[in-house]
Subunit: 234 residues, 2 copies
DNA sequence: CCAGGGTTTCGAACGGTGTTCGGTGGGCGA
DNA sequence: TCGCCCACCGAACACCGTTCGAAACCCTGG
């Protein structure tokens, strides 16, 4: 170990360079870790290690891991821009908002799990996005109750979409591998007993083909069309 | 079989009664554990313990925990009954199918997380449900491609709905506690700065009120109406 | 300028997790 | 009956989130 510091030498500041721990600093480090190695790597130990300290040190700035997750999610949501609602284009605006959120989440592997794992987000940015969503829905002509329910629905739906998209991107991180896996599933479906699963066998192609983009747009169309239909209801 | 054990010799068979470990037995035990204590309790150790053995013993019957989850999910899906498709009532049938799946999941705390956590389910019961869904969608007049995409969408959507419903039921398991928590959120939303979050403040009531049932039915209506609208598309 | 006190830091530990390894023992085919 | 095979399981590895208590630090009041 280190030689004891001589008395005449000013006590060398034990850890001179590293700035004091900050909640912001912890969250930043956690997010870089998330971007680099996925959600599994974001453990209290790993984050602390990346900051050059031990896990116990984090608990002065965070109540627990759940709080860290909430803060990470809200920081990510800060990147989402919410448009000024335009009554003529509310459908496109809503789709674009959802699209950008899903894009954000899929570009940060594991953040979808984070969004799902976290309980009702009440951070400043989550509120901002919610407010923006409500504004778009209002110019879309939805009733108050429908707006509220729809906002909830959209949040859930968005996380689910991102999570599903992330399932593929996250596990493999290798386009060729994904393609291979999809081909495997297709072949498996196509070879099932035709008498018990006639539709699956017949639609094996459609079930597995189509980029994520297409399926995703389909989901958006269904959502928006459905909202428009029931706009007065509830 | 062998010579009867002499009366003076105490029963040698170390654990005579317990049947040999079976994949089915393990899954059953895991499901009872899930029902009783939630998903967090379903660890390899706890399951093994409940079977009177150690965690290592399970790995002779399961590749890993992920496989256990898949098997549990598929076993649960066995309870879902898929109706004979009726062209006149396909909307109601679809809603009822989704409703029963979500009911199933919410009645088994944590199984929604299980459905989300699991990658594309390909167990026999999952296939059966998928086949049934496709059949209903077909009599609903959807194109092949739309059927395929919609089936995917419904699976995602269902898990998301169940997960959301489960977020409340799972964490607390105490109705009074949930109500209290909802009231807290309502009060928090109502007291936000009105200039930055006018809609949230105004709709604080609608955002937090309404039983899960109502919000859920709203989501179903949106989904089915949307599907009907885009039935020819894609 | 110094003392005191609150805050921050952090090594160590507790009780959990999934999974692997290597040995053992019992049932079954030859 | 022998020998093999494989389910079984104790032990261990490398993690995890969180808590405790003592040390180190900084700011404030005197």
């Amino acid at each position: 170990m280190a030689v004891p510091t001589p008395p005449w030498q000013r006590p060398t500041r034990s850890v001179p360079v590293r700035p004091r721990l900050t909640q912001q600093g912890i969250v930043d480090q956690a997010l870089t870790l998330l971007a680099k190695e996925g959600l599994d790597a974001v453990s209290m130990r790993r984050v602390a290690q990346a900051l050059g300290t031990g896990p116990a040190s984090l608990y002065a700035h965070l109540r627990n891991k759940e709080e860290l997750y909430q803060l990470m999610l809200d920081q990510l949501l800060g990147e989402v821009v919410v448009p000024e609602p335009d009554p003529e284009f509310w459908r496109e605006q809503l789709k674009e908002l959802i699209r950008s959120m899903v894009r954000l989440m899929t570009s940060h592997p594991g953040s979808a799990q984070l969004a799902i794992a976290t309980t009702v987000p009440t951070g400043p940015n989550a509120l901002r996005v919610t407010e923006g969503t409500l504004a778009i829905l209002r110019v879309g002509g939805l009733s108050d109750r429908a707006m509220a329910f729809a906002a909830d629905l959209i949040a859930t739906y968005t996380s689910a979409l991102a999570l599903e998209a992330g399932t593929w991107a996250d596990a493999v991180l290798d386009p060729a591998g994904v393609e291979e896996r999809i081909r495997q599933i297709h072949d498996y479906l196509a070879v099932l007993p035709r008498d018990r699963f006639p539709l699956i066998v017949a639609l094996a192609g459609s079930l597995t083909e189509g980029s994520g983009e297409e399926r995703f747009d389909f989901g958006l169309d269904v959502l928006v069309a459905g909202l428009e239909r029931v706009s007065g209801t509830a």
